[in-house]
């Protein structure tokens, strides 16, 4: 009997706690109604607080809510690649109007879902659309402009007038655009200031796809040899390979320049020497596309987002005011089209 009492007591206590706390269930807005505009985000395998793509995209979705564009925003974090279709379907079946899928990995699942759910608008972050699919808009970024910005910054900040970039293989068009944009940006800064900056850009094209983005040792070695030749700013573009170069540069006391997201936040070992990062502005890009989806102006195919550069963070005090002003001018120029990078979309 003692046993039975104990079980009953446990159940009663538990249910009391649960009911007492569970009183305030949120009111479920009905996304199937036309007047309720709902946006769902499916992350790639990863979390919405990853300080990188997933988080930036989720912030864009949240921005659309604070801007009054979306009424309901929700996310689903993918735990396993085989759930891509199901996670997208969970939003679509609930009558969501826009579904944001983050990362190249979801590309195929997104295109497939567009056929199943023709009434839903899909926004694929970093999903280049080789062919146009009705309902799918790929959000891509002008990497050449991002590289251009940090190239100009590196050239203006370099004391030795020698700067370097360590990149993955130039066969991948975005990598090529980063690297060539970097060169063009340095040349542009030289034109402004009457300096001559030597730019070393090395692509890790001598190895296969299995190695080119995952070779931090090679990245570090290459960065060191650039610094031996006098470079005092190193841009790392190419996954772990680039991170290796960035970390090596930071350890040697040179300026480190990150890529894609604000790597001050994601690469703590290099943070103290992180001058800036060549950024894809995912947050505004996602928010803009959601707004376009609501007013009906969104188009299938590829949408070009904006590039930018990250804050100077710890090095803010060592960046002269005239460099900051020049950077803002270049950025405005790139945005309004008065400054162009002259970089081809892919290696010819």
């Amino acid at each position: 009997m003692k046993k039975l009492y104990f079980v009953m007591a446990l159940v009663i206590v538990a249910s009391m706690i649960l009911t007492a706390c569970g009183a305030s269930a949120p009111t479920e807005a009905d996304c199937s109604k036309a007047e309720v505009f709902c946006v769902g985000l499916v992350s790639d395998v990863g979390k919405v607080n990853d300080k990188s793509f997933n988080q930036s995209a989720w912030e864009g979705v949240q921005k659309s809510k604070t801007d009054g564009v979306a009424d309901v925003v929700q996310f689903i974090e993918t735990a396993d690649a085989k759930d891509y279709a199901k996670n997208i379907g969970t939003f679509a079946d609930a009558g969501y109007d826009v579904i944001v899928t983050v990362g190249f990995g979801l590309g195929e699942a997104t295109v497939a879902a567009a056929a199943t759910y023709p009434n839903v608008k899909f926004i694929g972050v970093d999903q280049f659309q080789a062919a146009e699919t009705p309902g799918v808009t790929g959000l891509n970024f002008p990497e050449d402009q991002a590289g251009f910005l940090v190239g100009a910054l590196g050239a203006m900040m370099s004391k030795s007038h020698k700067i370097g970039a360590v990149c993955g293989t130039d066969v991948v068009p975005p990598v090529w655009r980063y690297g060539e944009g970097y060169k063009a940006g340095a040349a542009y800064a030289d034109g402004l200031n009457g300096t001559t900056t030597e730019v070393f850009v090395v692509y890790h094209s001598d190895v296969g796809f299995d190695k080119t983005f995952t070779d931090p040792e090679w990245g570090a070695q290459t960065a060191k040899s650039m610094m031996d030749q006098g470079a005092d700013a190193v841009f790392g573009c190419g996954g772990l390979t680039g991170n290796g170069a960035i970390t090596a540069a930071a350890q040697a006391g040179a300026f480190a320049i990150g890529v894609d997201a604000d790597q001050f936040l994601t690469l703590p070992e290099a943070a103290s020497r992180m001058l800036s990062s060549a950024m894809k502005l995912i947050t505004p890009g996602v928010a803009d596309l959601i707004a376009a989806a609501k007013d009906g102006s969104i188009k299938a195919g590829n949408f070009n987002g904006k590039a930018g550069y990250a804050p100077y963070h710890d090095l803010d005090s060592s960046v002269p005011a005239e460099v900051k002003t020049a950077m803002e001018k270049i950025n405005t120029g790139l945005l309004d089209g008065s400054v162009t990078t002259g970089v081809a979309p892919a290696k010819p």
Binding site: A25, D80, A81, N87, F104
Partner: protein
């Protein structure tokens, strides 16, 4: 009267043994769910909405049921793999690696064989062949560990873990290298799609549940039959309980150890091939990560009994599958699901806790998981 009560009918006996065996797991689940609910509350969520989402997501519609079955399929195979090894007194931590090996080779046969031969194969040859090669390679991979155990005494726990590293890194190397999908827009480490003739047909239009699920149930029955109704099964169990006695009774212990590992690896490899031929139609890094480790949990929860494993696999599948809808409704982190799973396991593995909480007396023999060094 007394004697009549003792000689119960076999059906009653069966029911009695099922309820005995399932009491502790059931209470473990219940306790974990209650504690999980309290934790959900503590992090600011609504436990009722969360569990409602979990149930709806796992069982709430045809689609949900189909997805739960899709998740359960590899869990059943891999859980059986670990359980079979348990029965033989071996702790196969290598299901993860064996599964990956099976998946890679199934995919290879699936996409490359028609190219090598220069002609298309009919489905009734190509599909079974792809599945068989996955089983065979998984079996060989585990058989190496079995042989090391039998002939050198090298402990299978260490060796299967090491073999996991080799398998997973080799898989990564192959999928990034010679087996990588060469289509121009692809940057993902994955194989090309397998040929139509190596794919399992759908059961229902529009749902992802596939014949692999039916096969999993059949294989579970087969393993039960193998273990309980055949000489080999008797040998496996005897070696598992006491290898010295088995040796004395004239059982070839070395042969049985190797065979047990091979069968176990073949089941894990089968889990991988079914994922390739039934669901994904290719292998990709990131597919199937962690199934081999979940399988250990499933085998423990199912008390190494095939029926128990099917049920435990369903529980894990339902939790994994329902997690999506739970997050959709509550925006809680999916990690909570892993946490509840871990709690269930904790209570099942350390059943003394559950027995203590609910004042249940222990009876019957303990499950032999693995023997010590050089056992």
């Amino acid at each position: 009267m007394q004697s009549e009560k003792q000689s119960n009918s076999p059906i009653k006996k069966l029911l009695q043994s099922i309820s005995d065996a399932s009491l502790v797991p059931f209470l473990a689940i219940l306790t974990a769910v209650v504690i999980g609910g309290i934790i959900i509350k503590l992090v600011g969520g609504d436990p009722f909405l969360a569990y409602k989402g979990l149930l709806q997501g796992a069982f709430g519609s045809k689609k949900a049921l189909s997805e739960t079955a899709v998740w359960a399929t590899p869990y059943i195979f891999a859980g059986l793999a670990v359980a079979l090894a348990f029965k033989g007194g071996l702790f196969n931590i290598g299901a993860e690696g064996q599964l990956a090996v099976g998946a890679v080779f199934s995919a290879l046969i699936g996409y490359a064989l028609p190219e090598w031969l220069g002609f298309d194969l009919p489905v009734y040859i190509h599909l079974p062949l792809a599945i068989f090669v996955g089983m065979l390679t998984g079996g060989i991979w585990a058989g190496i560990v079995g042989a090391l155990k039998a002939y050198t005494g090298g402990h299978e726990v260490i060796n299967t873990i090491m073999m996991n590293y080799i398998a997973l890194n080799t898989t990564s190397f192959l999928l990034n290298g010679i087996m990588k999908d060469r289509s121009p827009t692809n940057v993902i480490a994955r194989t090309p799609l397998i040929a139509e003739s190596a794919r399992m047909p759908e059961i229902f239009d529009g749902l992802r549940i596939h014949w692999g699920f039916v096969l999993a149930l059949l294989v579970a029955f087969f393993i039960w039959w193998l273990l309980n109704k055949t000489t080999l099964g008797f040998e496996i169990r005897t070696v598992g309980l006491n290898p010295d006695a088995a040796q004395y009774a004239g059982i070839n212990v070395k042969r049985t150890i190797i065979l047990t590992m091979m069968l176990s690896g073949a089941l894990a490899g089968l889990a991988g091939s079914i994922e390739v031929t039934g669901l994904n139609y290719r292998h990709e890094l990131g597919f199937s990560i962690g199934y081999g480790y979940d399988a250990i949990a499933i085998a423990l929860l199912g008390k190494s009994h095939p029926l128990g494993i099917v049920l435990a696999a369903f529980l894990f599948a339902a939790m994994r599958n329902g997690a999506t809808r739970m997050q959709f409704l509550t925006q809680l982190p999916v990690d909570l699901i892993s946490m509840i799973q871990a709690l269930i396991l904790l209570f099942v593995a350390a059943d003394a806790i559950v027995r203590y909480i609910y004042r249940i007396k222990s009876k019957g023999e303990r499950v032999v998981l693995t023997r010590g060094w050089g056992g």
